[in-house]
Each structure stands twice: as structure tokens, then as C-alpha cells.
Symmetry: D2
């Protein structure tokens, strides 16, 4: 961290700043320039409050040089993370499609969809048992029963399963769930992240609608700081002024994350856009850009889906998308 002092900073004020930083175990390297005095902070500055230092009377500007995340930082991980669930791998060159309905609705539905998407080449089955809905009057999921049905579909097809957790007290229900998803609305539910950090569950962490890429990495850091290094990051759109799409899918997160972190990156075009007619185009774009995986909503009868039907594909439409994705994948952007 670099602190630029105002011209009028007095020696005793600079001395006070040094002393205060030392009380936080931060050393200082001071260089007096023509126009400004610059203080370089030496040591672990990841918990130094930039805004606070910037508010001091004698300070002109503050700039962080090191990223405030460590466990999620590419600099400290020579090889990219490959998540391996009984042989199904994602990350570090391994690509997967996660497919399935927004909500688990019935045994018939989830088993039918699971078999369909497996045939089309999906590597994971997704399905919501606990659904975060804007309205308290909307369908909230089948809860424990939904998890049971997912496990049946897993047994039937062999596909590892992904499902969203909304409350840490539900963790026992997720014992046999392969990947626990943290939704966009809970990306900064820090208590939930901390608890997941104490488990050995693979966590799929979705970016919040108004969260920066750095904040997404800091939330991954919450999980990883607890000892759980199995985190998959997922982009599902950010909120902007545009209304022709539900959210704006920020695909540039792919090269940015590939530079900053070793964690796998998955793109969810279904939730980001909200309309099924855009899914194929954006699934191909995400694949070409170098994503490690896709998350796509598939429903046997979108018009009757209990939630988010507008963005679901039929199994037939998904098959068409998956074919195109696997065809384009060999030509995708590669990262060191």
C-alpha cells in the first residue's frame, strides 16, 4: 500500500502515522519527493482500512498495490484448481456443463430431465430444493424432499448434483450433495461463507448482482480462509440499466478471473438473461471466451415450470445447445 501525503504534512504528524501503523505491525518506508512525500507500507496490509487512512488530514491519496485476497490469488498457486468429483473434473482445462431445472418439482420431472441432459453430455445435474424468491408468496422449493429427489436422480444417472443452500442450519441435508451452491443474494452472507469454509464441500459461489469481481474473490477468500479450498466461481449477470435482458452478463469476468485466480470459472447464461432465446448465443460466447463450464436451465415443460420457466430450455433445445458448445470448445481461448 502506498500513502501519498499532502504537502502541508508536518514531521510530527508523519511520525504519528508511523507509530500508529507500527501498532498494527505495518512497517513504513518514507520517501520525500519534490511535490509529495510518499509512505510505502511494508508487511501484511490485507486488513488495513484504505478508506480510514485516506480520511486522515495529512493524506492526499491511498493506493493498494497487493490484492487483499491470498488463498484465492493466482500468484500463490502455480497450477489451476481442478475440482474432481468421482472422476468428473472441472477447471484447469477440464470443461463441464451443469444442467437441470431451476426447481426440483417431482420425481418424474427430475429423473426425466437428468436422463435427458446426461444423454446430451451434461456432466452435472442441477436442481433447486431451497429457492430464494423475491416474493414471500412465490414457490419456495420442496426443501428436504427436493434433495431426496435429486439424490434419486443421481443414483439413476450417476451425475453428481449441485443444489443451493440458503441457511447453514440446512447443512446436514446436503451431506450427499456433491456441490453446494451459494446464490447471488447470499454472496456476502459472511456467516454462511465462514461455516462452509469449515466443511470439505465443493462450493459453487455465484457473483452478486452488484458485486465487483474483487468482492467475489473476497467472498471466496472467506470460504478458503477456513480451510476449504474447493471453490468454483460463477457469473450470472450484474444489474445495469438495460431492460431487454434481465441482467447484463459480464463475460469479461473470464479473462479477468483467469488472471487473478486459479479457481474454475462457470457462466450461467440462463439466469443472467432471463429469456431462453438468448441462451445458445451466450453459451457459445462463454465457451469461446474460455470458461471452465456452463450452468444451463433445462425443464421438461418450461411453460409449466414452478419458477423461472421463461429462461429454461426444453431437453431438445438443450441438446442443440450442448452439441454446438462441444463443437466450439476445442477452439476456445486458452490461458497460461
Amino acid at each position: 500500500m502506498i500513502v501519498v501525503l499532502k504537502n502541508e504534512a508536518k514531521p510530527e504528524q508523519i511520525e504519528n502515522l508511523k507509530t500508529w501503523l507500527q501498532s498494527m505491525n505495518i512497517g513504513t518506508h518514507i520517501s520525500v519527493g519534490v511535490n509529495h512525500t510518499i509512505v510505502g507500507l511494508v508487511g501484511d496490509t490485507s486488513n488495513v482500512d484504505m478508506d480510514l487512512i485516506g480520511s486522515l488530514d495529512i493524506v492526499e491519496k491511498v493506493q493498494r498495490i497487493q490484492e487483499p485476497f491470498k488463498n484465492a490469488n493466482r500468484k500463490f498457486h502455480q497450477s489451476r484448481l481442478v475440482v474432481d468429483i468421482n472422476g468428473t473434473k472441472i477447471g484447469g482445462g477440464e470443461f463441464q456443463i451443469i444442467a437441470g431445472p431451476c426447481s426440483v418439482e417431482s420425481r418424474e420431472q427430475i429423473c426425466y430431465v437428468a436422463e435427458s441432459v446426461k444423454k446430451s453430455g451434461a456432466g452435472f445435474l442441477r436442481g433447486g430444493a431451497f429457492k430464494p424468491r423475491t416474493s414471500p408468496y412465490a414457490f419456495q422449493g420442496l426443501h428436504g424432499e427436493g434433495i431426496e429427489l435429486l439424490l434419486e436422480a443421481k443414483k439413476l444417472t450417476g451425475l453428481p448434483i449441485v443444489s443451493e443452500i440458503m441457511n447453514i442450519s440446512h447443512l446436514p441435508l446436503f451431506e450427499k450433495v456433491d456441490v453446494v451452491q451459494v446464490g447471488a443474494r447470499n454472496m456476502q452472507n459472511f456467516d454462511l461463507l465462514k461455516e462452509l469454509g469449515k466443511t470439505d464441500k465443493v462450493v459453487l459461489l455465484k457473483r452478486g448482482l452488484a458485486n465487483s469481481i474483487d468482492e467475489l474473490l473476497m467472498s471466496a477468500e472467506y470460504i478458503m480462509a477456513g480451510g476449504n479450498e474447493n471453490v468454483i466461481l460463477c457469473e450470472r449477470g450484474i444489474r445495469t440499466f438495460e431492460t431487454r435482458t434481465r441482467n447484463t452478463l459480464d463475460l469479461s469476468i473470464i479473462p479477468v478471473l483467469k488472471k487473478l485466480t486459479h479457481l474454475p470459472v462457470v457462466i450461467d447464461p440462463s439466469h443472467a438473461l432471463g429469456y431462453s432465446y438468448m441462451v445458445k448465443s451466450m453459451a457459445l460466447a462463454a465457451t469461446a471466451a474460455g470458461a471452465d463450464g456452463l450452468m444451463i436451465e433445462v425443464h421438461n415443460n418450461p411453460s409449466k415450470a414452478l419458477c423461472d420457466g421463461a429462461q429454461s430450455l426444453t431437453p431438445e433445445a438443450f441438446d442443440d445447445v450442448a452439441k454446438a458448445v462441444f463443437q466450439i470448445r476445442p477452439f476456445a481461448c486458452k490461458f497460461e
Copy 2:
């Protein structure tokens, strides 16, 4: 809800739509126009998925006419809500300042600040014991001990206290806390909201950084649907492209909420802006616009605050702001 059908919709397709809506207990009123056929939905449409209907092949557009919130809706509440905590009232013409430090740090600190802000006219003491911080390495609050210290300050000054809850399992610690705050990052932590809906706690609900005013009201609805009608709404800035302020304080929420709901509206300029030099100007603006209250950060030594010091006022600066606020309050905008 109004559904506009495409010209090419066939009679049997329209019949199917009718039948499907009936299965959700929604009646229909169909009118055939020159260019379009319009279907009016009759009944409780608050849990009908607009996006799903919009995605049907025969549908051109969908529009919601009724707001999807009921308990929080002004239409069903003739008089505005006045929250009354042992005689300290807020809402419906009663105005209060909630003041105190971002985090409770020590007995000395919280008691000193409490006495100072009380002298300046604050009606509530705020202080964080559980702190949502972007970084897992930043100070996370004193937890139970922080609540204890707040209660001591309450005993000393008589000020009712406001503190943030991050995890429903901590609820027992909040037994004597007068107002339980739900922070911006948890505005759509629906499980937390539902549990608070089962209590009789006054809840101060902060708007999320990327949440619309309607979503704020839907989150209030989650609490109120459980039977707890004591909800105070709080604006603390939304995320935009502007970088001279931490967030953009959306003061137009005041007239909008005054039209849509009977719940009290509080403005937090300290968190929204991130710099103490702007607080006075925005506190006066919020008061003039007709807010029911302000939430302002005050710290005895902002340069040493363990978190968010940059935005805190000293007790002296707060006294100046409070004087100006009380002076301008009689000339504020009034709403029916």
C-alpha cells in the same frame, strides 16, 4: 395483470392459457381488439410469474397492474406506521436521529459516544457488534460482548439501541436490543427475514446496493407476512459508476416510498457516501425531503476507528449537524 397476445394466437391456444391460469385460481377476462387480443387476469396474481407468461409463444407482452406487496402497501393502511419504543417514536410525523459508532469497541467508547449524541438530541444509539466486512481478515466485531456494552450504554443514557444481526442463531443475544438491523448485504437473505417475521422485534431493513425500491418492499413483505408489522426502511446508497462517493445516495426513495407504503423511511448518509465531509449536506437534504429519520455514524476518534472511520463524525461535528437538522426539520416536505 394484463397479458397482450400476438396476432397469430389461435383460439385453442388461448383456451389452453385460460385453463392453465384457472389451475392457479386465476380467472380471465378476454377482449378482442383491432390489433391485439388482451387477457385481463382476475384474482390474486401476486404469485404469478410474469416472466414465465411473457415467454409463452402466443404472448406479446405482460404487465403487472397491482403491486405484488400487500402488507407493506399504503393502499391497505390508512394511517402511517408510528414505531414507538417506550415513548421514543419514529414515523408518521415523528422524526429521530439514530447515532453512534460503526462498531462497538470498548465500554469507554460506547458510553462516551452515547452520552455525547444524546446531548446533541439523538433519539437512538446505534453500534455494531456483528460486522459484515468484505475481507475475512478485517475486524468482525465484539459479538456478544459488544451487545453487552451497548446495553450498558442504554442503561446509562436511556437511549433505545439499534444493532445489526447477521445470523438468525444469534437472535437470543438480541433479546434486549430495541431495533434489530438487517444490513444491505442481507436484504435478500430470505431465511433471516422469515425468522424475524415470527418475532415481535422492530426491524430496520436496509436497501441492498443493487436492489430496486420494489424489491426492498418485497423484503419488508417477507417480514410482515410472518406477522411482524414493525418494519423501518432504510436507504444507504446504491451502486453506480460514480467513484467520488462510495455509493450513490438515492434520496428520491423518500417520495416514492411515501407514496407506496405506510412504513417509516430512514436515510443513512454516512454509509452511502463514505466521507464525513458530505454528511451534513446530505443529512439536511434527507430531512428536507421528508425522511422520518437519519442514521449517522459518530465516533470519538474517527482516525482510530476499527472500521469505517472515514465516514464517521466526531461528537462535535455531529452536534453541529444535529443542530442544523433540527432547525430545518419544521420546513421539511410533508406527505398526506
Copy 3:
């Protein structure tokens, strides 16, 4: 357009509304429902002010059903527009890369870059002679001399050229320029658009940083309403809260525009992102998503570029990107 009236609307008020609409040559079709009376507007509603109608005392809501753009509307154009410049085609299945430096700096520079990008397969040469710069103290372009140098490079390579116009009085200088670019900051400089509508120039219209897709189409409509139908649309990023990229590249504009209009769609990842390391990934994404073309900045010596060097590729890096783009193009998303 559909106007939903409030329950309390009186017959004489409805009659007044009808009369007023008739004075604008808009017919009405009124249907009285159980809860609401609905007025369907018949005729050309493209110049009816929705906000104004929405503000009338008796009106609950207003919804536009037809898009307010006509000339740019896919519904009225069976086949997609193919822009053909002496045999170099873009749109309707024809794909091109437009490449070149941000600013024309010297004969040597522009000729070297032109020959390089031609060798790599670019179909158009771009180069700025008039540069919109945030600061009045920054390099503003070589103006007329820049155009002359572009024409020399065109003569040398045969590549048609693209250059930005900032002021309609400069139009005579653009006589031999093949494609006239309207930059993001001038997307709603309506006087400039109108004048270009009176010419037969091909216009490449860039989306403004805060403009919706519909507004982009309305600006195309300004040009087309004047009789000039040769408009190419270009996405170059929208402004959001994210700071790891200069702007957020909204690739979902591709399927949206393909649905709404017959005009070609070009993506400019260089300006959108601001850093050259992301260009390859996003160029591949845009191609896969089904764009009709790419606009990519190439400079012989990015570190010495007079403007926007940070986002430029070297000719060697561009060659690598172009190869990958042409390789992936056959597998791109196709639209009816």
C-alpha cells in the same frame, strides 16, 4: 399501446381522453373488465408520449406494444442488411474484422499497420483523425491530414476505411471515407444523425455508455428516417460499477439485436475493456455469439501510441487473434 385506467375513471374523463387521442389521429378500442378499463390505441403511436399519458389522473399504467422504431425494425425487413463496399461485405452472414490504430499518427504508422492487418485477414482499416478526448489538453487527432494519410493507406492496401466524425461541418473531408463512424459520445447528437441521414454514407453507429439497446435503435432510426439505410450498429461497452474493466462489454446485445433488427452488429472489445490482455478472449466470444464483425485496435508500438495505447494489440498479437477468430467463426451461433 395499451392504457389501463383506474377504477375511479369517470365516463366523461374517458371521453376526454378519446377526444384528445383522436386529435393526434389515434383511434381507441375500449374494453371494460372486471377490475380495470383498458384502452387500446389504434394507429401510429410511435410519437405518443407514454410518460405523459401515464401522468394523467385517470391512468393506472401504460404499456407500449409496438416498438417505436420502424425503418430499423426486423419485422419490416425480410432479409438482413448486407453492406457491400466494392465487394467487401458485412452483415447477413458476411463477417469482417475492422482493425487499425486508435489515432492516425503518421504515414509510416498507418501504412505499416494497414499492411499488417490486411495480411492477417482484416477487411477494413480503421483510424481516428478526429478524436473525442475527455481532456481538452489531450491529443485531438491530425484532422484533415489524418484523413489524407488514411486514404493513402487505402490506396496502398485496397482496404476500405472507417473513421469517426465529430462535427457535421467536417463532412466534406469524409467524401472518400467508406464508413463514417459516430462515436459513443455522439450517439444522441441528433443533429449530426439527421445530417448523416441525408447522405448516402455507410454509418457505423456506436452505442453510448449509458444507452439502452432501444435507444441505439432509435438513433439508427434518426439516420434511416432521412433515407440512408446503410447503418451498422456497434457495441463498445456500457458503464457499470465494475472497475477491473474500463466498461462492461454487453455481448447479449447480439441475440437481442438479431431479434429486433436487420442491421449488422459489430463488437469492439478494445474500447470496451481497455486492456489488451482481454481482447482475444472477448473477440472469440463475440464471434461465437454470432456478431457480424469485430473492431479491434492495432498499433505498431502500443507503448508509444498517442492515445488509448493500453488497449491496442501489436500486429503480431492481432495476427494471433485473427487466426483464432477465423478458426472459430464456422461454429458461431446462427440466426434466422
Copy 4:
């Protein structure tokens, strides 16, 4: 400007950087720290491209310390600008309301409104003769005739007039117009700004929908760099995700601009919000926050206004707002 170099930067690379900067007349002050080497740039860095330096291989980060605007900078202006038009003053403690219709429609209309708003205490009359409309099919203003009618209303009432210019070729028509407005869509029409900088016209410059406060100041700098120092800045809302208001009125611009510049700041709640019911609340807020003036739309018959009627006040409603504004003004926030 401070440039932080990477650890791996070699001495000869640093030497090259120094030489390159010297070629732009920028001196350097290099200090070698424990972890990083820091280069301080000495001289006028306002035209140094930060992004370009940041893209160099050896550079870790770049930070600007001085603002890139000079003429508009508070640091170089001891006293705040007071614009004085024949005795009607705005800025530096002088407060004015600018009121009038969106568009001039007829002699009767503009004269009636002018007399009404004068009676209510407005200091300026506004009225559009050239209207920037999203649709080419919407009413575009009376042009020269509109200016004539405004001048008649000025003669009748003595109110100085404000009107928008969209095209520099129209400047002769504005000879007797007291304040020339540059609209939000033209805030970065740099050619227009430069030409206005050569005149002695008072310019009211509106912030663009997606423009930062710093960009607004840079656009003022364009005008002032030409020698015209009479610039009034105006906030009229920025574009965000919120849909209950047309735009989000960013009132925190008031304390920010008061810190950064000596130029007067005017707030336009009518255009920002789009609905007349919010105007009073936000007019009071802007006044309390310390704005130098307000711009408010007033129309004799809002329901028949040819544009933007939804946001206009009747003369009676304006009178009520103006009374409340003048009553609250003495208690507004003051700045040094």
C-alpha cells in the same frame, strides 16, 4: 502522478521509462523501496495517459494525484463564481430558481408561464426551442420561432432566459439568449464545447446520464480552456437500475462539486425524476443540501404539453414549491 513498478523491473527498463517521460517534458523522482520502486512524475501531467502507462510491462499500478482539470479547479480560485446577468445573480451565496416549460409552444403559453413563475419568485425563464428527443418522430421544437417567443416573454417580464443549443451553427439565433444550455446528451460533444469556449455566453452545462463528476468538470474545462469562464454546472440524474424514477438524482454531487470547483451548481429535479409528484420533495432536498439554484419545469396545462408533460408542475403547484424552497433556503448547508 505516482507510478509503482513491478519488482522485476530492470534498471535499463526504468531508464527507458524516464527517457520517454522526459520526451513529454515530465521529470521523474525515483525512490527504491523494500518491495517496490516508485516513480513520482514531476511537471504538468494533465495530458499523460494513465492507462497507457499502466499497460507497460514493468508497471504495477498508476495513480493520479492532481486533478486533471485546472480552470474549473477550486484550488486555483479563491472566491466562488457569481454569474451576474443584469443584476440577477447565481452562485457564491446567491440562489435562483430557473422555471418554465420543457418546450416553447406558443406566445400565449410562454408569456403566461413566464408571468406566473415570475410572480412565484423565479429568477430565470427556461424554455426549449431545440429539443433533443429519443425518437425522430417526436416534436423537435419550434426552433428560431421558439427563441423569438422566449425573447418576447423576456421583454414582458424582464426575466433572463435559458435555452438549449444542439448545434453550433445555431449560435447566431442565441445572440440575445442570456444562458445557453448544453444538454446531458451533448455533455461530451467536444466540438460544441470548444466553440462555446470562444464566446462570452454564460453556459449551463448538464451532466450526462452516465458521466462521472470528474468528466463533468473536464467538459467544463473544455469551455473554460477557450477563455469562457462563465459556466454553471447542472445535475439532472444519472442512469441506474431503478425504474420507479426516470433517472437517479445524485444530490451528493453538491458537496462534491463544492469541494472541487468554484462554479455554481444547479439541480434539475424535473428531468431527473420524470414524475411531478416527486418534484417538491427533491427541490427542498437540493436546496437544503446547498445548491445554488434549481431548474424546474412548469407548464400551464401539463396534460397537453407537447413533450415531457409528465414531469411538469402547474403554475399553482410551482408556486407552492417555490414558497417552500424560499422558506427553507436560509437553513441550507453552507460551504466555505
